[in-house]
Symmetry: C2
Subunit: 220 residues, 2 copies
DNA sequence: GGCAAACTTGCGCAATGGGCAACTTAGGTG
DNA sequence: CACCTAAGTTGCCCATTGCGCAAGTTTGCC
């Protein structure tokens, strides 16, 4: 029915759910319980995506999404705090990927190098999202409350990234924070451009271009 | 009762309300009607601020704010779409100031120069916010939904600023957008730092410092 | 004075988020 | 395997919210 049902989500649901609500509460990684939770979360996400793309954010109720995923409205709340969060599940996953990747870079690398190499190694992940995705994203971008929720993700990411940069020796605090915020702005802006020009240039290339402009300010 | 009732708002409510809901609907600038509207908006804003600082965002209902400002809950909705918007009224006003200022710079100035001069001329406006404000802001910053709504303001600002930079000859689109986003990141980060160190360094100085770091990437 | 536009208010309604308690199920234990 | 416990699901309930609508009320202007 949908050629790319989870085009906007993380390809393979990258584990780590552990406790239907955020709290880490230990659980067998491969257990049935865990797999079911991930499946439910994914189902809710995809249902939300499908319905919202069809009817617009305002035209879809939480109940409708829950129904489409065969769970109760109450259960929806157990997984996501609202429609926005369900829709941005994929973005959150990508955020975790990004953080995991950059954290696993050699500790000796400077912030800028770690950033550059991280983007290089995620090239495939981000570049893989094929055509059609831009069109969908264009629709979703219309919804103000979504952009806003996106902001929450970036804010969190910025905090984490700043900490990572500080750990890599960025000083002073202002510069570390600025570096993190600026890198994320590069990603945001590149993505916006990518959507606008309908994927004409591969996303990773646009990010590279943006980072290249910033290089004179931060490359050590 | 409150030493700085509107510390977070714009000092003098910079006119331009014109139509209780956004839509510009012509109205005498000095008329009683217009003055009442501005007063009501300001009263709602201050009531929101006071109550939220006391009881936390979740601990205050729209109704309580409306009561404190002597209007009905329904009227609150006529002015603001929610608690967050009421709280951020001051930020929106500052955003408009900023845009008005930069737009009125000579058209021949490059984006970077216009930006620098705008910050210089707003130095007093932003620097004037005295001590105590940082403490309040620190409290407000705890509320996730507020940061998120702040993001909405910045997003809008980024769009407008990008357009302004394009008008001033910034190319290509990616660079113009990146420049706008980066400048705003500088402001955001500087403000965060300012709050964190409790106003030790004047905000304008921190913004200058941030912009100085970025200079190598954008100064033409 | 008097009219029209603008604003306020109360009422109603659907949607939402979240607490609570009963029920169901996965996972480990003797 | 029977059994127990913790985790997850669901229905029920309620306070809050955003908004449309249709009176009232006020302001601005001829």
């Amino acid at each position: 029915m949908d050629p790319q049902p989870s085009a906007l989500s993380s390809g393979a649901p990258t584990g780590m759910s552990t406790g239907v609500r955020g709290g880490a509460s230990g659980g067998a990684p491969g257990g049935l319980r865990e797999r079911k939770k991930i499946a439910t979360r994914q189902a809710l996400h995809e249902a939300a995506l499908r319905l919202v793309l069809r009817d617009g954010l305002a035209g879809v109720t939480v109940e409708a999404i829950a129904d489409a995923a065969d769970v109760s409205r109450r259960t929806f709340s157990n997984y996501f705090s609202g429609k926005e969060e369900a829709l941005l599940y994929g973005d959150r996953a990508r955020m975790r990927d990004f953080l995991d990747t950059i954290r696993s870079r050699p500790a000796a690398e400077t912030p800028w190098t770690a950033m550059r190499e991280t983007m290089r190694s995620l090239r495939d992940t981000f570049g893989a999202r094929g055509p059609g995705v831009t069109a969908q994203l264009r629709v979703l971008r219309k919804q103000p409350s979504l952009i806003v929720s996106q902001g929450a993700i970036f804010a969190e990411l910025e905090r984490e990234l700043t900490a990572e940069f500080v750990a890599r020796g960025a000083t002073p605090a202002l510069r570390a924070h600025l570096l993190a915020g600026t890198c994320l702005t590069a990603v945001r802006v590149a993505t916006a451009q990518w959507i606008e020009e309908d994927g004409a240039t591969p996303l990773p290339d646009l990010v590279d271009e943006a980072l290249h402009i910033l290089r004179p300010a931060f490359d050590d």
